[in-house]
């Protein structure tokens, strides 16, 4: 009973306060406070996430599940970045350099380690290019998705194809030289496109408000892992 009622009561009170602070300025501090709490909870939750990640991959290694070797890579990268982060943050290499003789083998080792474990360098030269590579895939996927979407099988698909052709032409210098294309492009984007987007957004706004109210009133409680 308590397991069900207490979370619903907290949710109801919090919902009412958060709704009220929109209209009562002296209550805005509650919202600011809630944001602070959310940040703290997120930081703690990251540890839970980390534990989950490590457990899943150690389990794969233990069971020798399919493609388990990738788990070695994940766990190695995780540990490597944690160690690099701490060493960079606390300036260990600066202290080690101070105790080295110039030109000695020890200095060479420390310099090599410093380069290999430089958090910022790894981030800039490994993670950012990998992220950029993933993002770049989008260009190819847009082409393949457009190829499928613009096949003129039905009336709607033909309409989509014509609109897309005009907009694409109107967005490149060559197309803009054709009289009227630029104006039609602007019209398509500003009138039917904006109208459709706004229609969806009004529906989304009402859906959000409705879901929020249902959660506040305890009608919608599946997010708590409960059925009606």
């Amino acid at each position: 009973m308590m397991r069900r009622q207490v979370p619903l009561l907290i949710c109801f009170v919090a919902g009412i306060v958060m709704l009220s602070q929109n209209f009562i300025p002296p209550l805005t501090w509650v919202y600011q406070q809630a944001l602070e709490w959310a940040r703290i909870i997120s930081a703690i939750a990251l540890f839970i996430g980390l534990i989950s990640l490590v457990r899943v991959h150690t389990m794969k290694l233990k069971r020798k599940a399919a493609n388990y070797r990738y788990s070695y890579v994940t766990l190695f990268a995780l540990c490597y970045m944690i160690i690099a982060g701490f060493l960079t943050k606390y300036g260990l290499f600066v202290k080690l350099h101070a105790g080295c003789d110039t030109g000695s083998a020890w200095e060479w080792i420390v310099t090599a380690l410093e380069k290999a474990l430089n958090f910022q360098e790894i981030f800039l030269n490994v993670q950012i290019p990998i992220q950029a590579t993933m993002f770049s895939l989008l260009a190819f996927y847009i082409a393949s998705a457009a190829f499928r979407a613009f096949k003129a099988r039905t009336f709607e698909a033909t309409l989509l194809l014509i609109a897309a052709m005009i907009v694409m032409l109107g967005r490149v210098p060559l197309g803009q030289m054709i009289p009227g294309v630029k104006e039609i492009t602007v019209w398509i984007l500003d009138v039917p496109n904006t109208a459709a987007k706004r229609g969806i957004m009004i529906g989304v706004g009402l859906g959000m408000a409705s879901t929020s109210l249902k959660i506040m009133l305890g009608i919608e409680r599946t997010y708590l892992g409960m059925k009606d």
Partner: protein, 405 residues
């Protein structure tokens, strides 16, 4: 003959006087110009103080007429300092600096409500500064209601009333019609297909936090999916972008398996955290799709630029794909690459559609009525404005104007 010396003298005087006069004029003008640059700028005038409206008492708005050397004159003003004190005699401390051309500033620095504050605006140039006369007192007062949101409050009350009416109406047991949602109808078929193929189902609850209503809507759908999956003895893989969403998803999937009477079939390692880095998450999920080859991919929640990368990779593996998002910019990508797409509000209707709970269906009816009201208002507004009648549009501003006055 007698006139000649006079004429000569007059010419000589004129020829000397004109250059001298020109010289004097040039020197005088130069001096005037250099003196305009050498002296401090002329001070600002008409300093007006106003308590910032609709706030909790933490701000005062200061406005002034620009220094004559900013709006014209020497044009060498650098900027203005707004200085504050609790006494007209000072000391004044700078609380805000604004660039030249600015005639208004808001002071939001450590103001206490119901305390008298005095201000002076100091204009600065390279050679010095000139303070205005002291203005004040003014108080930063607490407003107990944000009048700027009066219209929002009225609309909110109307909407909540409509929702509550239809929710309680539904409670009485009246049958409500709900239109078919192909994407949700296909869920059973998709789970059945996965069972037949002996492959898992991949469920991605978006890449946003639990505070996002779209994520909560996704979790509601996950609840129904988990139950169906448990009934079919299939496996569901739920990779998570956010650790809090992961904990909620774990609980919901566990409850789903419990509700289906198969708690032992639940594997907590199937609902796991991946990373909070957008493209690293995409890489991980793409990897799962390519290696595990799920029979069905469900992308439901809030998505950003990664939507098409996920959906296209899924399409290349031959999986049935059902997507649902309220991110307007991502909807076309999902429509192009997925078999079924829940568009915008359909995402929020899914929970009611799947459970068919009367209370949830009632809220959908309330939503529809509010939409009818809005569509009606928009249509009437458009028509009246086309005929040059502005009174209907003004009607929506009237409550606000009445209270302001």
């Amino acid at each position: 003959m007698t006139r000649r010396p006079h004429r000569f003298l007059r010419r000589a005087v004129l020829s000397l006087a004109l250059p001298m006069l020109l010289f004097v004029l040039l020197v005088a003008t130069g001096h005037a110009q250099s003196s305009a640059f050498d002296r401090p700028p002329a001070p600002v005038t008409n300093v007006a103080l106003k308590d910032a409206p609709d706030d909790a008492g933490g701000a005062i708005t200061i406005s002034w007429t620009l220094s004559p050397d900013d709006a014209g004159g020497a044009m060498d003003v650098i900027g203005y300092d707004v200085r504050r004190s609790t006494s007209p005699d000072g000391p004044f401390q700078t609380v805000k600096s604004v660039p030249r051309g600015s005639s208004e500033a808001a002071d939001e620095t450590d103001l206490d409500s119901d305390v008298n504050y005095f201000y002076r605006v100091v204009v600065k140039d390279a050679k010095g500064e000139a303070p205005s006369v002291v203005a004040g007192p003014v108080q930063a007062k607490v407003q107990w209601f944000n009048l700027g949101r009066l219209n929002t409050l009225i609309a909110t009350i109307i909407y909540i009333t409509l929702l509550l009416y239809f929710i309680f109406h539904a409670k009485k047991g009246k049958k409500l019609f709900i239109r078919r949602l192909a994407g949700l109808d296909a869920l059973d078929e998709a789970v059945g297909r996965a069972t037949e193929m002996g492959k898992p189902i991949l469920y991605v609850p978006g890449i946003s936090q639990i505070s996002d209503v779209a994520t909560i809507a996704s979790i509601n759908i996950l609840s129904g999916v988990a139950r169906t999956v448990a009934e079919y003895n299939t496996r569901v893989i739920v990779p998570n972008y956010d650790p809090i969403v992961m904990t909620v998803a774990q609980e919901v999937v566990r409850e789903g398996f419990l509700a289906a009477g198969k708690p032992d079939a639940y594997d907590e390692h199937d609902v796991f955290y991946v990373t909070t880095n957008q493209f690293a998450f995409v890489a991980a999920v793409d990897g799962i799709m390519v290696r595990e080859k799920p029979a069905t991919n469900l992308f439901i929640g809030m998505f950003f630029a990664e939507s098409l990368i996920l959906a296209e990779t899924g399409a290349s593996t031959g999986a049935i794909q059902i997507a649902g998002t309220d991110a307007v910019a991502q909807i076309p990508f999902f429509i192009a690459a997925c078999d079924y797409t829940l568009i915008g509000e359909e995402l929020y209707a899914a929970s009611a559609y799947l459970s068919r709970a009367p209370l949830l269906l009632g809220s959908l009816k309330g939503q529809d009525w509010m939409k009818i009201c809005l569509i009606g208002c928009i249509a009437v507004g458009v028509v009246t404005l086309l005929f040059g009648i502005e009174s209907f549009r003004d009607f929506f501003e009237t409550p606000l104007m009445i209270f302001r006055q």
